[in-house]
């Protein structure tokens, strides 16, 4: 068994965040709805082509800006991906924002030696005034990264009783660097921005223009009816319409937007949780115990308000889950959960079907019978599963080969000294679990393909 000081370079989980990033970019650029919304927003083609729109409103541009609600998530995905392509820009931004300096004079020399021993090519930057951050990793160039160290790490390090916690946190960050997370974690900032601005964007570019256009149409209608002297019945008619058709319609749109956002966010969210849990696993491999991670988590006061707790979940898994995984390190159930969490989280995209189904139920008269309704639901679910089939297929292949290519992946992000020092290895530990997880995921992919064939035959 390796000693407690031997740094274990190991990545239990494949790079799901990288995979999600590529998958989301693929979906964004191939999704016909996204392309249509973009064309419509930029050119106003649909509005211009629609004779009705021109006649019904004096503000046709409102229809154009409403596309922003649908374009908001893909826009953030693309911007997040761009941060991976421009690490230098991200480094400049982060160093300015967090006021990071390369002056190590106030760091304990043994802390610097510890980091240098674990990751010789990792640069160290500090801001020893802030205590609301511990440490984080960020890219400087493609194969160069830095660790930002904040006040709590130094204070924990100087405290003999708590130095193990400081080491656990530093090892967690170093694992992020070794796993190649530094280049893609920038996507998390956009996930955070997306959540932060979702409601204002929906209200300003979605609901308010919609209500405005409805009000304009109603006023036009009432004014045209005034001439015929039927004002009271017209107003009553509009009021009934507002309460029975428009208001429930708006609520439905709100629910649809919320569910679609959740369905889009859950997969990247889980990919983020996976990189965190994977970094914890690397700490466990080095320290042979999860206790230091658990104690390190307890050093920081958890967010108190529900908003902060929600936003904290955008970048890190709940502490209870991290503690459970830390306690069950090396046990079968813990590894199963880790390996299958990402493939299973892909099912969250099915949430997008719910609002479609609600619309269909509310318009049940359109369908001849319940069989039609269920058939339509099956087609909706099938189309999503078909889209997921390539993701599951790739996931299954990655799971199957991951223990074999694990160390090669980490070499891509390692610096020259780290490459010189490390050797490639094949990690056969728990390979059976990887194998069966790959088989299960492959079955999911086949299921998606089978549905695709069935839908094609049916159509």
């Amino acid at each position: 068994m390796a000693s407690r000081n031997t740094i274990q370079r190991k990545s239990v989980l494949p790079p799901w965040l990288w995979l999600w990033l590529l998958f989301s970019l693929f979906l964004t650029f191939t999704n016909i709805d996204v392309r249509q919304s973009l064309i419509d927003f930029l050119t106003g083609t649909i509005v211009a082509n629609s004779a009705h729109a021109e006649n019904l409103t004096r503000f046709p541009w409102l229809y154009r800006i409403m596309n922003l609600v649908d374009l908001w998530p893909p826009m953030l995905f693309v911007l997040g991906a761009l941060t991976a392509l421009t690490p230098q820009l991200r480094a400049k931004y982060l160093e300015k924002r967090w006021r990071l300096k390369g002056d190590l004079s106030n760091l304990p020399p043994d802390l610097v030696a510890f980091v240098r021993h674990a990751a010789p090519d990792l640069q160290i930057k500090t801001n020893l005034r802030r205590s609301d951050r511990q440490a984080f990793i960020y890219p400087l160039r493609y194969r160069k990264a830095a660790i930002a160290i904040f006040r709590p790490i130094v204070l924990l390090w100087y405290n003999e009783r708590k130095r193990a916690e400081a080491k656990a946190i530093l090892l967690h960050e170093i694992a992020h660097y070794q796993h190649g997370d530094a280049l893609v974690v920038g996507e998390g900032s956009f996930l955070d921005i997306g959540l932060n601005w979702w409601l204002p964007i929906f209200l300003v570019f979605g609901l308010i223009p919609m209500i405005f256009l409805w009000a304009e149409q109603s006023i036009n209608f009432v004014q045209s009816s005034t001439g015929s002297g039927n004002l009271s019945p017209t107003l009553l008619h509009e009021l009934i319409d507002a309460l029975t058709i428009f208001l429930p319609g708006w609520l439905l749109i709100l629910i649809e937007e919320i569910l679609q956002t959740i369905s889009l966010i859950l997969l990247p969210l889980l990919a983020f949780w996976c990189i965190e849990l994977n970094a914890d696993q690397a700490v466990l491999s080095t320290l042979h115990s999860g206790e230091d991670i658990i104690r390190a988590l307890a050093q920081f006061k958890a967010p108190s308000s529900w908003q902060d707790r929600l936003f904290a979940l955008a970048t890190h898994p709940p502490r209870s889950l991290r503690r459970w995984i830390a306690r069950n390190a090396g046990k079968r159930e813990g590894i199963w959960l880790l390996l299958m969490s990402f493939p299973l989280a892909a099912f969250s995209l099915l949430l997008g079907v719910v609002p479609l189904f609600i619309v269909q139920v509310s318009q049940e008269s359109v369908f001849h019978n319940h069989t039609d309704l269920l058939q339509s639901l099956a087609v909706d679910i099938g189309s999503i599963l078909v889209n997921l089939a390539p993701l599951w297929g790739v996931t299954a292949i990655i799971l199957l080969v991951w223990p074999l290519v694990n160390s090669f992946w980490m070499r891509i992000f390692a610096g020259p000294e780290e490459i010189r020092r490390e050797s490639q290895f094949v990690d056969w530990t728990n390979y059976r679990i990887y194998y069966f997880s790959a088989c299960l995921t492959a079955l999911l992919a086949l299921w998606g393909c089978a549905l695709y064939v069935l839908v094609q035959i049916k159509l």
Partner: protein
């Protein structure tokens, strides 16, 4: 006050009020005196996580809040240090700390002291208490920290006076540029009742 003596004063203060922060006491006091973003960094309590970080959450700190408390209470502290009250207050604080060590359950709060001549002491306690409350320090712990802070301040009047003088110099330096180095609490006090603050300083 030279940088070195300011650092020494901060380290001595940290040794009694926040022993776990001694290692960064010099960094803390320099950042506080520097003002601007350096100072505000000490008080940031954002509870949201950073992608690629360890976790969301704030680390419990004491020293920055003690420094801000002393800064806020400067109009009370400066006249006290150069008066005979200094010795009386020091005796009261020492006695109180001794009582707390011997029989914590029976120890009495200083709030029960008469206003004459203890009003400045009670105001100083209230100011420090408000600051520590902002730093989310538990009430019981805060009370002990306050007594230790007052003891350290009164036992090293020269160091404390020079720390406050340094802040005052910085404040006048910045007032020429239209900025202010007064902590938010102090600004509020002046805004609410300038005469009251002035009287406190007598």
């Amino acid at each position: 006050m030279s940088t070195d003596s300011l650092d020494t004063w901060a380290v001595k203060l940290a040794e009694v009020v926040a022993p776990e922060e001694v290692a960064l006491a010099a960094v803390t006091v320099q950042a506080y005196v520097a003002d601007g973003t350096n100072r505000s960094d000490l008080f940031r309590q954002s509870q949201r996580g950073t992608p690629g970080g360890f976790d969301a959450g704030v680390f419990q700190e004491i020293l920055p809040y003690v420094l801000r408390g002393l800064h806020s209470a400067a109009p009370i502290i400066v006249p006290t240090l150069s008066s005979t009250l200094s010795g009386i207050f020091l005796e009261v604080v020492k006695r109180s700390l001794k009582e707390r060590n011997e029989a914590p359950a029976n120890s009495q709060s200083m709030e029960q002291l008469p206003d004459d001549p203890y009003k400045p002491l009670k105001q100083l306690i209230a100011t420090l208490s408000r600051e520590l409350h902002k730093g989310n320090v538990a009430e019981q712990k805060a009370e002990l920290i306050i007594y230790h802070t007052i003891q350290a301040v009164l036992e090293d009047p020269e160091g404390t006076r020079q720390f406050l003088q340094r802040l005052s110099d910085k404040s006048s330096e910045l007032s020429g540029t239209g900025k202010s180095s007064k902590p938010a609490l102090m600004k509020k006090r002046f805004k609410r009742s300038p005469t009251e603050t002035h009287q406190n300083g007598k």
